[in-house]
């Protein structure tokens, strides 16, 4: 019985596994010099996106997302507001500390703010953890794979010209997030498509409204302390 359970478990995991194989280049020098795709921000930035929300196959509407991100400190501050300008959610995260200033339903449910900030980090920051593999996917595109401390895998893939894909897999290899970043107007984050697979599958299509670097004055952010 124990072996049957184990077999079923393996089959189940295998059926969930969608993590593709990354093949290292044959030549060692090529492998060593192979750069990982990196669309990620190099300095502190404020970005404002119009976000179209689809959940469970239905269009849910559109909102405005404001994000301030610092790749060096991994600081994230974000706000979601309605088209009319009403703030639905405002939160920030410094290190492990999450502060929620405002969260109206349904944005106050469960770990919504935490998951949102995790998604923002996934979009804008270099993956943390161990670089496990770099090479090519079966379709020939360059890919690098990291494994985070919690066991999740992050693939960063140089897709078609001017686009990068980021995929997040669970320990078992289940695809949890698919992100496609497309550069259109000079900013690498002109269009971001995020597909999330949770209790309810959802898609966010983010179109850049505005982006600008946030200046830091000698150890002090130009953003006022709250």
């Amino acid at each position: 019985m124990k072996y049957i359970s184990l077999f079923i478990g393996i089959v189940f995991l295998a059926s969930c596994s969608t993590m593709p194989v990354i093949t290292a280049p044959m030549l060692l020098a090529t492998h060593k010099n192979l750069p990982c795709p990196s669309p990620f921000l190099k300095e502190k930035y404020q970005l404002i996106h119009a976000i179209e929300v689809n959940a469970a196959g239905n269009v849910q509407g559109a909102i405005i997302g404001v994000t301030v991100v610092d790749p060096y400190t991994r600081f994230v501050s974000c706000a979601i507001m309605s088209a009319e300008g009403m703030v639905l959610l405002e939160a920030k995260s410094e290190g492990e500390k999450l502060i929620i200033y405002r969260a109206l339903p349904p944005f106050d449910s469960g770990d919504f703010a935490k998951n949102l900030i995790d998604d923002i980090r996934l979009i804008y920051f270099n993956p943390q953890g161990l670089l496990q593999k770099k090479g090519n996917l079966p379709d020939g595109s360059t890919a690098c794979r990291w494994q985070e401390e919690n066991g999740n895998f992050i693939d960063v893939i140089a897709g078609k010209p001017e686009s990068t894909e980021i995929k997040k897999y669970s320990v078992g290899g289940r695809l949890k997030r698919y992100i496609k970043i497309t550069q259109k107007t000079g900013n690498p984050y002109s269009i971001i498509e995020l597909q999330g697979s949770e209790m309810v599958d959802y898609t966010l299509l983010m179109t850049l409204i505005e982006a600008q670097p946030v200046k830091t004055i000698k150890g002090k952010n130009s953003e006022k302390k709250r």
Binding site: V59, A62, E84, G85, V87, E90, Y101, L104, S222, E223
Partner: protein
Amino acid sequence: MNNYRDLHRYFYVLVCSFLLLSLPLTVFADSFEQLRKDSADIQTIQASFVQKKFMKILTKPLVSEGRFYYVAPDSFRWEYLKPLRSVVIVHKGETRRYTASGGKMIEDKSGGAQAMKIVLSEVTGWMSGKFDQNPSFTATLKEGTNTLITLSPAGKSMTGMIEKIEITISKKAATVKSVKIIESANAATRIDFTNVEINKVISSSVFQDVQ
């Protein structure tokens, strides 16, 4: 559903702020009673607006632009054109809200928009010039270099939503200078209106078509 209720309150405040534009320019002396009399002549209003959202997270205000239409007694269209297009229409007792998605205007079918009917009844009171009789706000009028009307939430319905609304009327230019909605210590919304037209014919299609 609470967020919809909050959205309606927010929309309500925006609309109410705008409706203060309908105040005839000569009546900003010291009389709310005079306002009520003069507001009775208003049949239509239309204007463009620029909305600036101030938040600590924003290094500079988020600017939205749009149009507003009103036909007495109860038809409204409040439309944002930039940066994210959205429309709220109140007409013949029905309320609809649309946002742009996939290049189309998608109607909010969540039921939230219908709850805006509650808002409508309050707005009707404002349209009658009953600025000092709305139970949701207490109104004060102060004369100075400019005329300042301050609306403060009277009950708990606006708690956490609005701290106060300030409408500044320029005496020199005899126009509404600004409407500022102070939501909290960290957030405020300022709306500037231009091209205000009173009692000019507005087609009924404005309250029916969303493209």
